[in-house]
Amino acid sequence: MGSSVLLLNLLFDGLVLGCIYGLMGIGFSLLWWISGIVHLAHGGVMLAGGFALYVAFGALGLPFVLAFPLACVLALAAGLALDRFLYKPLIARGTDEMGLLTASLGTLITMQYALTLIFGPQGVTMDADRLRAPLVPRLLPVFDLFAVLAIAATALIFVGLWFLMARTRIGREMRAVAENRDLARILGTDIRAVQTLVGAVAAALVMPAAAFLLFSTGITPPEALDIVLIASVVAIIGGRGSIHGALIGGIVIGIAESATTWQFAAGWRQLITFALLYALLLVRPQGLFGKAAA
């Protein structure tokens, strides 16, 4: 296979990976943007959702259409429990940013190692066999059902979110809370209800990404922090309040990481993520599509 064909394949792989990264980051971005909560434990919820899907679908053998919603319910419960018992009480007692970050980091570590104790550090992965067969023989880049599903699910979710935010009453309330919390409160918006709803949406949104991870690189507890790192770089590259920014941020990282493996060993992938983050924070800390902080 020629080198340029390989690069073409890597770029396409990067696009698929980037879609998954976008899905990993969007829930985190929404919580950060609308509720002002830096949800480091997002990575823990994603791992828990992935393991739940593995247990329901892989171990118990339930049909996927039943297992996936079940795992969604569990992720939702985890996200809402964190909102109710971690962030809400801390915010109510005026804990500062450093305290919130510390508590969220501690929760992430707790979840990561609780899951390590249950499932082992190597985690679980499922074979995507049929999904990975090329759809069109001899066509390059290699085009399989997994890629189609990842791109389609991402497109569906991001269009749905855009519609929710731009066209519905609750979306307008979310944007109002994000822009000016005090004004939104005066105008009669139930801030807590909006924040809880955002927490629920963010928790449910871990599942598509967790499912794609389970069927590709696997759900591995040691990667909890890498998940959060990618989610936060997606949020920062995309910029505050930009849904399409988060998707483009994810795709930029995905393609950059994938292209890195063209010339370098796969272990160096994370270096490019960091280089992107560093460069962006130096020249444009508000992100590609964000508005400058007021």
Binding site: W32, V38, L86, P89, L90, G94, T95, D96, E97, M98, G99, L100, L101, T102, A103, L105, G106, T107, L108, I109, T110, M111, Q112, Y113, A114, T116, L117, P121, L225, D226, V228, L229, S232, V233, I236, A265, G267, W268, Q270, L271, T273, F274, L277, Y278, L281, L282, P285
Partner: protein, 289 residues
């Protein structure tokens, strides 16, 4: 006597790490999860250079390299803090481990570098109690210097930046320079702790300088009391002894390490809920900024 000496050397090294992180996190309000990086830079500098250059030049080279890396980390963080800085430091920590594991020609990869000579003064190698004495003297001097620094005009500027950064800018203080220099200083001190560590264990590997170590150092600061200097010393003591005590609890093989990390994670959450100012903290740091 070997066991108490081992515990005390470990404690001294953690004191240096926790106290230097307190300068960043407690005094200046800059949350960092990259402290094991500077610790590791010092240790690897000693591992690579001590045989050819001698221990002191190797340690100084490590401290200079760590100070430089530390200052570079701060560059994008000069005008942003809190979460942005935390994410940058997490990224630096992840990248550092990637570099240690993958740059095999320099670092020996996952296997690390064995055969580091013991610290020697005037041709006399220091082991056991002698090393402990030198390290304890250095640690005590460092704590004394940090306590003086905290009370100096520069130390007051750092605390003012923590409490009201905009106010400092309005008063014409050079906030950017203060942040870069405090990061460089804390990084350099952590690197010196790493040099002692490398001489003591005679062996370095990526695992000793990963995110779990950074988290543990942060927990020492938070548990003891950020911004109190002596709180992190107490935190280092508690968290040096706690894993030793845990060894007496019978656990199935392979579960001891994750169970310990689980406990550290829980402690981070519990401290924020129960005693956000830490064990020795008198007031809530930055709560009403």
């Amino acid at each position: 006597m070997a066991y108490p000496i081992h515990l005390l050397i470990t404690f001294d090294i953690f004191v240096l790490l926790a106290a230097s992180l307190d300068l960043l996190t407690g005094f200046t309000g800059l949350l960092s999860l990259a402290h094991a990086v500077f610790f590791g830079i010092g240790a690897y500098a000693t591992a690579l250079l001590a045989k050819t250059l001698g221990p002191v030049p190797a340690a100084l080279a490590g401290a200079a390299a760590a100070a430089l890396v530390s200052a570079l980390i701060t560059l994008p963080a000069i005008w942003v803090r809190g979460i942005y800085l935390l994410i940058v430091t997490i990224a630096v920590q992840v990248v550092f481990t990637v570099v240690l594991v993958n740059w095999t020609e320099l670092t020996g990869g996952a296997a690390g570098i064995p055969g580091i000579p013991p610290l020697s003064l005037g041709g006399h190698p220091l082991r056991g109690a002698e090393l402990l004495a030198v390290l304890s003297a250095f640690t005590a001097a460092s704590i004394f210097a940090l306590a003086r620094l905290a009370k100096s005009p520069f130390g007051r500027l750092l605390q003012a930046i923590r409490d009201d950064e905009t106010g400092c800018l309005v008063l014409g203080k050079n906030v950017a320079w203060a942040k870069v220099s405090v990061f460089a200083f804390a990084g350099g001190l952590a690197a010196l702790a790493g040099s002692f560590y490398a001489h003591y264990t005679s062996y370095v590997d990526p695992h000793s300088f990963d995110i779990a170590v950074s988290t543990l150092i942060l927990l020492m600061v938070m548990l003891g009391g950020a911004g109190t200097l002596f709180g992190p010393v107490l935190g280092a003591l508690v968290l040096t002894l706690l894993p030793e005590a845990l060894k007496f609890i019978p656990l199935p093989p392979g579960t001891a390490a994750p169970a310990r990390q689980l406990l550290f994670g829980l402690m981070l959450v519990v401290v924020v809920f129960v005693r956000p100012q830490g064990l020795l903290g008198g007031r809530l740091v930055g709560a009403h900024a």
